[in-house]
Structures are given as structure tokens and as C-alpha cells.
């Protein structure tokens, strides 16, 4: 399950994620982290069951971190796509691959929903659904 965490100036300096890992015994994979000066966002992948989610959300919210589950998928409109590749190399986790001159694939499991490709596509052929 992928979560987007937003830190505020009050808590950006605290090791909240480490505390969470220790408290809940979770394996957390940090996919992307952007912390600049006083605030930051982080996308993490946590192997969670639905019934465990509540506890984790509560833990983070108590410490002032905003949490959002990322549930949408990234979809390619084959009718608009021209197989240029403008979306391929900017994907930070290489979830988009060109398999041939006319074959573009998006790997939903790898994708961290950063939306970079949605903006990078000059044909507006990629959507978040």
C-alpha cells in the first residue's frame, strides 16, 4: 500500500518514520522524499493489511503528519500515444518502458504515482484514474 506523508515545519526535524518502524515492526520502503527547508513530502510503500492501516494512520496523525493513501492508477490512452518516449526517462522509478518502436508499458506495481509522466507527455495521453 502506498502512502503520501506530508510533514509540517513543526515535525519535519523529528525521526517519526523510524519511531513508526520501531513501534509497529513494519518494513517501510521510502520511494520518494522531498524535504526542503521547513516542509516535506514522502511517498512510502508499506506492506499493510487493511486492518493494520487504522493504527498506522493514527500513529502518524498524532504526530502531526498528514497521510493520504494513493489508490489511483496511471493509464495510457493508446489512441493518443505516439510512442515518443517523452514519459519514459523522466519516470523516477523507471516504471515506464518502451518495448519496441510502437510499444509503451506502464508497470503499475512499480509506479509511485508521482504524476511526472502525466505532465511530461506532450500528447496528454497519460491520465491518473
Amino acid at each position: 500500500m502506498k502512502l503520501r506523508l506530508t510533514y509540517t515545519p513543526e515535525n519535519v526535524g523529528e525521526p517519526i518514520l523510524s519511531k513508526l518502524i520501531l513501534a509497529k515492526g513494519l518494513e517501510i520502503n521510502i520511494i520518494e522524499a522531498r524535504i526542503s527547508g521547513d516542509r516535506g513530502t514522502m511517498i512510502v510503500d508499506v506492506p499493510l493489511r487493511r486492518d493494520e492501516l487504522e493504527g498506522v494512520l493514527g500513529f502518524l496523525k498524532d504526530r502531526g503528519v498528514e497521510v493520504e493513501e494513493i489508490a489511483f492508477a496511471i493509464e495510457l490512452d493508446e489512441g493518443k500515444c505516439i510512442y515518443c518516449g517523452a514519459c519514459v526517462s523522466p519516470c523516477p522509478v523507471q516504471a515506464i518502458r518502451m518495448e519496441g518502436p510502437r510499444d509503451i508499458r506502464i508497470d503499475q506495481d512499480r509506479c509511485v504515482r508521482c504524476l511526472i509522466c502525466v505532465n511530461a507527455c506532450p500528447m496528454r495521453a497519460i491520465r491518473a484514474v
Binding site: G37, I82, Y83, A86, S89, P90, M98, P101, P122, M123
Partner: protein, 508 residues
């Protein structure tokens, strides 16, 4: 053609067209010809093949269309004109306009621009035409509001001042910020490489000697027929950056090969499909037509430097670019194209089929296009101040192992607020400000290495001051180390230095 170029030694245009009409012409796509020449040798390949077809499909910003709407009743002399809220240039006769591909709409901005209007017209859609005039005795009307489609207007002629770049720079980004450019999205720290152009299928590269491509060359343009009408703007054939000016009737073109597009935070544009047949009239032409992706090189350029003279990192071949991985900044970065190789192939194939079926004849240019043309930068009357003009060269640096007290003393003695931290060879590791030090001392920190900021914003000597000023305000900082390509600190620039400009004191 001039006596030196375009010698029809192996076959003449008439002979080729005779064979096309008879259905006997031997036509190959450029990628096929590359392989064929490799296996049988260039001489034999040149003897056997009549025509090599090329293709490219990419963003061509210097594109647009002349439109003539016919006269309203009472008539109007258009002074300003909009098509689907995209402004078109109306400084021509009464109802002639030029609609440029990059013109953004006034309601949707760059998400919908001139390129999109052209695509919509070719799709058969009606577009909203609005115009204003100032009213004259012969053109009394002052405004018009109507809907027109391609079938309703007199002429709709695509005239593109600069298309089909022979090759183009590959782009990467050395800075620590993501950049949105006309070369697409560039991730920080050499995170990726983007490029454009179809390499071994590129029309102009396949005849770089300009032996056969000249004024009057019949081409595949946007799915229909077009013509080369001259050299393109910024044509720079000596650097293998030749360009073409082309024209063709929008009626007869296909929305498959003319597509409006938007580059995020940059602008709207038009993807144009162009295919040029290269008649193999002599061995020189055969030779350029046989060049493969690994023989076609281009410059890998750092778009992180916001100056005209962006540094070239190294040469890179289209074969390396198309492999999807390029070495840059000491690691392998993913590489991908902005133009479509798949469509370039399709266009070369389509042109090949049209020639094979007798539906597309070749034309001898009536005049060659220049083989050399100096490419000048813009003449500017204001001197743009650059970092090197204002930065201080006498600055102090410290090593991470030094103590906070030492650092504090250096700053007080030097009268500075910023202290770059460097390694043994002078390369930047971090920075501390007097504020950092004050805070750290209050907390009882001792270790400079712990206090310094590692994620340092930096500048380079060649950068215009304006770009630096933007970063100061964007990140709320007051100083940046100036580094060279090896990250060695060569200077320091602060907001105080920028103030010199305003005072006009020592900037000249």
C-alpha cells in the same frame, strides 16, 4: 543545382521517375538501406537502389498556417484575430492571417495552442473565429464572430519556417532541481537524458551534402504532399544542424501526422511528420544515406545552465541514445526520445509505398540550399551581467573537520556570512551561514560537519545574474558558492553582490 553538387552520375531524376511510373523503382527505407549497404558494400548498394526514404515526427515549434477566410458582408479588415481563442497574426491583408503553432490560447493557456487549432482543422472540426477591425470606408465592419472549418475557407497552407532539424542536442540536467524545458522533463543530478530526431532516418542527415534536397523538392508533409521552399531559419549545415522551410496544403494532410502538443511549463507546439525521398544520384548521396545510428553523433548538453552557452558534456551517438541508457555524471542515466521513432519509421514506410505504387514522383531542385551559413547570436545592446562579473574571488573556505569556533572566527575576520565547506581538492561539500553557527553554538554543537548544509544551491560563472537572483528568492537564501564543472569552489555570490548592480557601482 550548382555544378559541384547534385551530379546525376548514377541515374537522372527522369530515369527514376520513369521507373516509378513503370512500377520498377527500387525503394528502401533509410534503415533498410543502412543494413543493405553494410552487407553488399556501398558501391553495389548505390547501383541497385533508386530511392531511399526517410522520416521524422517531432515537435517543430517553427510551424504555422496561412489562412484566408474570404470576405464577410459587410466586409472587415481584421486587425486582431482569434481561432478557438488562440491569437493569430493579422498584420496582413484584410482576411489573411498566420496562425503560429506555439501561440497559446487566451482561455486555456499552453494546454491548447496554435498547433492544436491546426490539428482540429485537419480533423475536420469547425473552429471559433473571432476578429476585430477598426473600420474603414471600404471595410466598415468592426467585429465578427463565426465558426469555420477547412471546407469553408479559401486557403489553408502550412508554411513552416524551420522544420526537420538534421539532428538535435541531447539534454541532461546537472542541477539539484527538476527542470521543465523544451527538451522535456529533466530530473535533477543527471537523472535522465532526453533527445530528439530520428538519427538514421533523419531526412537532412541522409543527404547532409545537400546534393538532392533543395528548393522545389517534393516531400511527404503531414500525411499530404509538400515542398521544400528553402533553407530553414537558423540553418547551420556546417555544424550538421541544417533545417528546412516547407509548405503544403492543409487539405490533404492527416491528423495522424500533424498533432498539437504541450510541453509542461514550456509551451504548446505542433508535432509534424516529414518524409523526404533521397534519390541515389551519385555515390556521395549513397554514402550519407548509408550512415547508421552509431555514426551519427550529437552533443549531450547540460540544460541546467541557463545561458546560451550551455556546456557540452560530451558527444553521444544516436545508437547510444536509442539504447535507453547513457553514461553521464559518472553513472548510467535512462535516456528517451521526445520525437517518435515509431512514427518516423511509419512515415518512411508510407513514403516508400507511395513511390512504389507510382503515386509519388521525385522532383529535381530548381535551386540548391546553402551549404554554409554563419549562425549568429542575437545582437544585444545591454550588457548582461553574469555571475563572473559580480562574484567575489577572495573568499574563505573551511574543511568539515574544523571546529565551529574556527569557522566562526574566519567569518568574523573575513566579514562574511557564508562559508563554503570543501574537501582536500577544493570541491564543495557543504555550506554554513553565520546564522547556522550562532544556532549551533547556542545548542552546544562542536562539529562543523554536522552543522553544515549539504544540499547546497550553487551557481556557475557563466550564468546570467537574473537566473541567480531568481534562485535566491525562490529558496529564500542569501548566498551561493560558484563552482566549476568539477564542483571546485571558484567564487561566492551573495545578495549583497547583487545590490552592487542597482547602485551601478563596480559592475562595469
Amino acid at each position: 543545382m550548382s555544378a559541384l553538387r547534385g551530379k546525376e552520375e548514377l541515374r537522372t531524376y527522369e530515369e527514376i521517375n520513369e521507373r516509378i511510373r513503370a512500377g520498377d523503382a527500387v525503394v528502401m527505407r533509410a534503415d533498410e538501406f543502412v543494413e543493405f549497404a553494410k552487407s553488399v558494400g556501398i558501391e553495389k548498394a548505390a547501383k541497385e537502389v533508386d530511392v531511399v526514404t526517410t522520416g521524422t515526427f517531432g515537435a517543430m515549434c517553427s510551424s504555422g498556417a496561412f489562412l484566408n477566410f474570404g470576405h464577410a458582408d459587410p466586409p472587415i479588415k481584421m486587425r486582431r484575430c482569434w481561432l478557438n481563442e488562440v491569437p493569430a497574426y493579422a498584420g496582413l491583408a484584410a482576411v489573411d492571417v498566420y496562425l503560429g503553432a506555439t501561440s497559446p490560447s487566451e482561455d486555456r493557456g499552453i494546454e491548447y495552442g496554435g498547433g492544436h487549432v491546426i490539428e482540429d482543422l485537419v480533423k475536420g472540426k469547425e473552429v471559433h473565429l473571432r476578429a476585430e477591425g477598426y473600420g474603414t470606408d471600404c471595410y466598415p465592419r468592426r467585429s465578427i464572430d463565426t465558426y469555420v472549418g477547412l471546407g469553408d475557407i479559401n486557403q489553408a497552407i502550412l508554411v513552416n519556417p524551420r522544420n526537420a532539424y538534421e539532428r538535435y542536442n541531447a539534454a541532461t540536467n546537472s542541477t539539484d532541481e527538476i527542470l521543465f524545458t523544451y527538451m522535456g522533463t529533466l530530473l535533477p543530478d543527471f537523472g535522465n537524458v532526453t533527445y530528439s530526431g530520428s538519427g538514421q532516418l533523419s531526412p537532412l542527415y541522409k543527404d547532409y551534402g545537400l546534393e538532392t534536397i533543395g528548393i522545389g523538392t517534393r516531400i511527404f508533409l503531414g500525411g499530404g504532399v509538400g515542398y521544400v521552399i528553402g533553407e530553414g531559419t537558423q540553418h547551420n549545415p556546417e555544424r550538421r544542424l541544417g533545417t528546412l522551410m516547407v509548405r503544403g496544403d492543409l487539405r490533404g494532410m492527416s491528423p495522424r501526422y500533424l498533432r498539437g502538443a504541450t510541453y509542461y511549463r514550456y509551451g504548446s507546439t505542433l508535432y509534424v511528420g516529414i518524409g523526404i525521398p533521397i534519390p541515389i544520384i551519385n555515390e556521395k548521396v549513397a554514402k550519407s544515406a548509408s550512415l547508421s545510428d552509431d555514426e551519427i553523433l550529437t552533443d549531450l548538453v547540460d540544460y541546467g545552465v541557463p545561458s546560451r552557452n550551455r556546456p557540452t558534456i560530451r558527444k553521444v551517438s544516436y545508437a547510444e541514445l536509442r539504447s535507453g541508457k547513457v553514461e553521464v555524471g559518472g553513472k548510467e542515466a535512462p535516456a528517451s526520445s521526445l520525437s517518435s521513432y515509431g512514427y518516423a519509421l511509419e512515415i518512411a514506410e508510407e513514403l516508400k509505398l507511395r513511390i512504389e505504387k507510382g503515386g509519388f514522383l521525385l522532383s529535381r531542385p530548381i535551386e540548391p540550399i546553402p551549404e554554409e551559413r554563419p549562425f549568429k547570436p542575437m545582437k544585444q545592446i545591454e550588457a548582461i551581467p553574469r555571475v563572473r562579473d559580480l562574484m567575489r574571488r577572495d573568499f574563505k573556505t573551511a574543511k568539515a573537520i574544523q571546529s565551529l569556533e574556527e569557522a566562526a572566527r574566519m567569518m568574523v575576520e573575513g566579514g562574511v556570512d557564508h562559508l563554503p565547506i570543501v574537501d582536500g581538492s577544493g570541491r564543495l561539500e557543504g555550506i554554513v551561514t553565520s546564522w547556522d553557527i550562532a544556532k549551533a553554538l547556542a545548542k552546544g554543537e562542536r562539529d562543523l560537519g554536522k552543522v553544515m548544509t549539504r544540499d547546497v544551491k550553487t551557481a556557475v560563472e557563466d550564468e546570467p545574474i537574473e537566473a541567480v537572483a531568481k534562485r535566491f528568492s525562490k529558496f529564500g537564501i542569501s548566498g551561493m558558492p560558484v563552482i566549476d564543472s568539477r564542483r571546485v569552489v571558484v567564487g561566492l555570490i551573495t545578495t549583497d553582490d547583487l545590490a552592487k548592480l542597482v547602485k551601478g557601482g563596480d559592475s562595469k
